[in-house]
């Protein structure tokens, strides 16, 4: 049996875009607030349903839907941070974990009530459309999701590096107390960072809905993969997340040459364990160390 390795690699690179998009929000929230956002999966799921409503029910262009979804979820995230998450910000980590897990369950149950457990999918005119490059079929859907993933990375890089708010977010991520001392309103910064994290999760959900069928349990397995990626890339770095996504996607894709596809998740979690032991700072931590030496 001869596996088409170039096709596998192309597909892995496109998958990396998807992985990165779904992990940025997780890394951003952890970076600034040191909170593991377990509600991330719920937000992705709601993002998928929001896309379904806008595209299928309201007939909106599939690529315009995120333009409405992202700001709405940004404000939802800010609201969540101000009125719910902030209350457990300085409590032991288990409090925020449980709180956000509870929020995820509530989101899931609301979706079950509103949409039932039926599997849904979004079909557009370009669903299933592909074009060939050197005999490799490339899906337009996946290419767009990959492109948006890269675009989100570039926008976030610019925002973090060029704007006052972005710099304030980075400063707060590095040292919250020092940031306060220099006059940064860290409460406001955290609100914005949480809003951005939630907005990115909703963007991921709305894009993933164009590829995958989904139900209210959607996002659960993606969340676990997201954890692997942020640990692999470095918990606080956007570029690290992109790199981590690429490494994981390629490792998973090529693993089928040696192990059965059912064990692909084993590859992710084995990588997670190895990274935690060998380079706890992730790939970005390792790169920083190499630079110093």
């Amino acid at each position: 049996m001869t596996i088409d390795i170039p096709a596998l690699l192309v597909s892995a690179i496109l998958l990396a875009g998807l992985y990165a998009t779904m992990s940025y929000g997780l890394a951003l929230i952890y970076g600034v607030m040191k909170i593991v956002n377990l509600a991330h999966a719920g937000v992705m799921m709601w993002g998928a349903y929001a896309a379904f409503i806008l595209i299928v029910n309201a007939g909106l262009n599939p690529f315009l839907a995120p333009i409405l979804i992202v700001p709405a979820f940004f404000f939802l995230g800010m609201f969540m941070q101000r009125y719910i998450v902030r209350r457990v910000m300085y409590a032991p980590p288990i409090s925020s974990l449980l709180l956000l897990f509870g929020i995820w369950l509530i989101m899931q149950n609301i979706a079950y009530l509103g949409f039932t457990g039926d599997t849904r999918a979004i079909t557009t005119t370009f669903t299933l459309m592909t074009f060939q490059v050197f005999g490799i079929a490339i899906s337009i859907n996946r290419l767009v999701v990959f492109g948006v993933g890269i675009l989100a990375l570039l926008v976030m890089r610019q925002f973090m590096g060029r704007t006052y708010t972005g710099k304030a977010i980075r400063a707060t991520a590095q040292d919250g107390d020092a940031s306060k001392l220099v006059g940064i309103n860290t409460d406001r910064v955290m609100e914005i960072a949480f809003g951005l994290g939630i907005a990115l999760a909703s963007l991921a959900g709305s894009l993933m809905a164009l590829i995958f069928a989904f139900d209210p349990d959607f996002g659960r397995s993606h969340l676990l993969k997201g954890f692997c990626i942020v640990v692999l890339g470095g918990l606080e770095s956007m570029v690290g997340v992109a790199l981590g996504s690429l490494v994981l996607a390629i490792a998973e894709a090529l693993s089928i040459l040696w192990i059965m596809p059912a064990l692909q998740d084993f590859v992710s979690f084995a990588l997670l364990v190895i990274v935690l032991i060998v380079m706890p700072g992730g790939m970005m931590g390792l790169l920083a160390k190499l630079k110093k030496t």
Binding site: M1, T2, I3, D4, A7, L8, S11, A12, L15, L18, N109, Y112, L113, T116, G117, D118, T119, R120, A121, I122, T123, T127, L128, T130, A137, S139, N141, R142, I211, F212, A213, F214, D215, P216, D217, R220, S221, H222, K225, A249, E252, A253, S255, I256, M260, P261, A262, Q264, D265
Partner: protein, 410 residues
Amino acid sequence: MKHRRILSLLGSLVVGLFILPGTEVMAQPKEIILGAALPITGGQSREGGYVKKAYELAIKEINDAGGVMVKQYGKKIPVKLITYDDKSDNTTSVQLYEKLVAEDKVNVLLGGYGTPLITAHTVVAEKYRVPYVNGGGATGAIYERKMKYIFCLISSIEKLAYTLMDWIAGQQDSGNLKKPLRIALMGENTSHGKEFRQGILAKAKAAPDRFQVVMDEPFEMNLKDADSLLQKVKASNADVYLADARLADYTTIHRRYTELRLYHQVVSYGPRGTEKAARDALGAASDYIVSCNWWHRDLPTEAARTFRDKYEKTYNEPAEWFPATAYETARVMAKAIEDAGTLDKTKIRDALAKMDMRNSLVVGGRVWFKPNGQIDNDYVMMQNLPGGKVSLIYPKETATAKPIVPIPQK
């Protein structure tokens, strides 16, 4: 002396009241209580909702006819159905079945839907020796636990695989497919998928001149990426592609299958294929997929047509297999009580074990159970046709059209 006579008279009366059978003075139940915990909310809510509606429809019909005839009491007794929502959660399901038995004092139990839930809660029915029938848990492993009180109205997944392979063999004999056929096989990494793969492998092993399995892979549910699997399918250079997947994975995999421009002479996702959600999501890509199922609304039998018309008129939604087998589950239980002629649980269980119900709506029209408690009827096979249509293609007596094999290449 007088006292002794009165005492002996009283004694005779007591004996008469409590020992002599068939006397009208025995305590008669006001109703026969059937209990079920169903997934009304949570992940299986869609299927659970269907089951609840079907049970209610069957019970209403039974009660409209006066109830179930119980010979021991010499009259028809109305039926009461108690249902709870197990929230699609195994632990809750077990607790609720305990409650049905211990607090609600049900006479018999009806099942819910889905292998994990049914695997979990059947233990309760067996523990308390309460007769139990379900129409929604096909996985054969449930019935291989040597339980005596558990019965199931839908055939095993292994049988599904056998039906599929028998049909393919028939296509070979008709000259539509070559011999031997190279088969690419994959299934979700659950007992459902495992049994499907086992069934295909067993048939292939038994007929090496017909079948050659060139790829056999399990995969994790909720696939994030089907590419690796499908690259293996492509590399296997198979003639036929057979998979077992739940609805979401079927949609995801087959979208990618189409994007990768794969082609096979026969494509099947086991029981999946005709679902409206999937056909909407896949469009023309779902045309010609063949699937096996326990029931279909177009089955050309009187019982199937009657149920379909009744269900669709009552609930204004298409009758799928979930409510059909659930409806028959309630009717089978009522018949078992009638056959037993008593509410004695052991006797009802024995009546179920001996059940031979004819003119049923199930495929083949006959309800009977193997010693392990599971029915062994054929599946009905369907093929998706362009324009969202479906034809029944197997078994012969239920077929509404000839199958289109090999699938036309686009």
